[in-house]
Amino acid sequence: MNNGPDAPPLSLEAVSKSFSGKPAVRDLSFTVRQGEIFGFLGPNGAGKTTSLRTALGIMTPDQGNVMLFGAPPSQKNLRRVGFLPEERGLYKKMTAEAVIVFFARLKGMGRGEALKKARALLDQYGLGDVAQKKLKTFSKGMAQKVQILAAIAHDPELVILDEPFSGLDPVNQRTLESLVRGLADGGATVIFSTHVMEHAERLCDRILLLSKGRTVFEGAVSAALDAAPRRVFVETDADVDVAALTAAIPGASAAREGEAETEGVRWRVDLPEGASTQPVLHAFVDKGAPLRMFEPMRTHLHDAFVELVEREDRPS
């Protein structure tokens, strides 16, 4: 067991958890490295929240081990963790400042220090003017911001955010992305769960994709993108058969999409995951076929997500 200063912030080993006999998490293992932004992805009901609650010791796993900074979760090492739960809410009759101070003090901060930090954070994130207002007067986005600040006020080394972007408007989502990057730049390790891939794609160093309680992928975002199928849209003359033209490319399949906007017809060419789009271009050039438009689609994590989940569901 590595419980020294270089111990990973979080490590799960063969963790399983069931509710009333129904498995929520099955044989889950992963390690989060110091200083990285780690995405915990999966569709609704994949077991993300259960995994995070287990990681924090809020739930006890039926099987397996959880290590926080090299030791089982305890109040001592939980002080080094900031947590934003998926089911979030605050004491509506408390002021923004008081609620941040309360949670920071629960994490061991002194009153004066907590108060100073709460004021600084509220000012930094544009809530300084409403620091003394009760949370019941806040919009949902503002309240969520306060809760995130309450989770990080004690300068945690590990920040766990469960679906932090849900319920936020695009402006606040962008603010939160900046906050997450700022935390990582400051040396903290950040884990966040989401089912919105764009955030993970923009922020994460590594991701773990969970489906039906099992890991379907763990690794760098670029590696996940390689798992997604490639697609190219082309526009050409109506008499050109793109299917025949690309038949020689391994794994390629072409389908006519319809009339092009200006002239000719539009085709979609699907390629296997990781394949280059260059052979399609070469096929047109080699045969001297007219090419009015060549548009390789950028691969998104969303596509990789769908592909990986569907692949997991396909009968082997």
């Binding site: 509710f19 809020i58 089911e87 004491y91 809760q147």
Partner: protein
Amino acid sequence: MNRLFLIARREYLSYVATWGFWISLATVPLFMAAGFIVPQLFERSTPERAYVVIADDPAVGTAIEDYLDAEYADEVDAVLGAMVSAQGGDAAGDAYDAARENGAAPLDAAMEAGLAPEAAQAAADQTRRNYVRVEAPERTVEGLRSYLAGARQLDTPEGPRDLHAALFVEGDAQAGYSLDYWSANLSNQDLMDEARRALGADMADAYLRDAGVDPAVVAEAEDRRPETRALSPEKTEGAEEVTFEDRLPYLLGVGAGFVLWSILFSVANMLLTSTIEEKGNKILDSLLASARLTEILAGKLLGVAGVSFTLLAAWIIAGLGFVTVVQFVVGGDEPLAPIFGAVLDPGLLLPFAFYFVVGYLMYGAVFMAIGSLCETIQEAQTFMSPLIIILMIPLAFLVFAAQNLDSSLLAIASWIPPFTPFLMIARLPTDPPLWEIVATSALMLGTMLAILLAASAVFRMGALGQAGIGNLRRLVPGMKS
């Protein structure tokens, strides 16, 4: 420990640091004062009601009037007698009684006993006549109908006034009276009752005279009372007479049971609503990542216990203040020192604290567990009804206990752990055997531990969203909706 304190402090301040809490606290003495003052205000604001008597024999009207005068004199007598005793002590009280026995009117007797004439008159004025007889403008129902209906007013030497009632009396005292009471006021028929008693007394006097018995002799006979003393063999020789001070612990024991019930019921409800608020507002997950479940449970219990002690202190201060006000301002005949002494007696306060803590943990844990399963008060209400019925049982026993502290049924009921705190505190002044106190306490403590363990498990499941009110409904037969 620090986290527990922080959670308790937040819980305590969430109630105490609000205007609503202090306003509701202030309403306690206000309600007490209202309970005392409102009846007096009603008494004073009720108009002196005019009535007429229509009878062939003018003596009938006089008999009713005399009867009402005598009733009024008795009321004045009671007020002045109490005031004389409060201000002049037992000696002045005895002087007043002696003057009254010698035939002095209450006002004269009070002044004779040392009460200042202005004070005596003011006290007498506190008591108002409710009814005044006036001359009838007409002697038939038809003639009086418009007066009774309020369409016309009576012309009296004091000015015009409404006619409250007309009493039509036929017959005589020997043969018996018949009374027709006419009034448009259907809610108050006190005058009819008074007139019936007056005529009844007149008939009884006539009956006695016919039988050759002087009614004055019968009245004198009825006034004869044995000199009575209540004595207790447990008091020291020569001072065995039972005083108010001796009876006070029994009264306070039952009173403590009621207070305990009221406080536990109030604070358990606070715990319920606060837990539902935390569950509904999704706060528990955040708390669970920052503190142990036991710290959250204990912190909340401790915080609300603090609220209840604040409530209790305020109630005691308000209660003692009320007693003081009644004693000095209004006049009462019980000394204050024994009341203060008995209320602040460690022999009452320590058992009260013990039963409060155990009862609070029992009921508080159950209410919190239920709260952790519910998102809204409406959800909780379906399960609260049977619990409230259980809580009402000891209250019914306490009402019964006020006069029957030695009842075996009460003794048996005090063995039922959820009832023990309320019923044993009431029974303690009767000196139940030590083994019974210890055994009921042990049973109660064991039950409390079992409830705490079960409630912690339910709270954990409820807090983590692994169980809801539906799970409880499945456990309790008949609770489907």
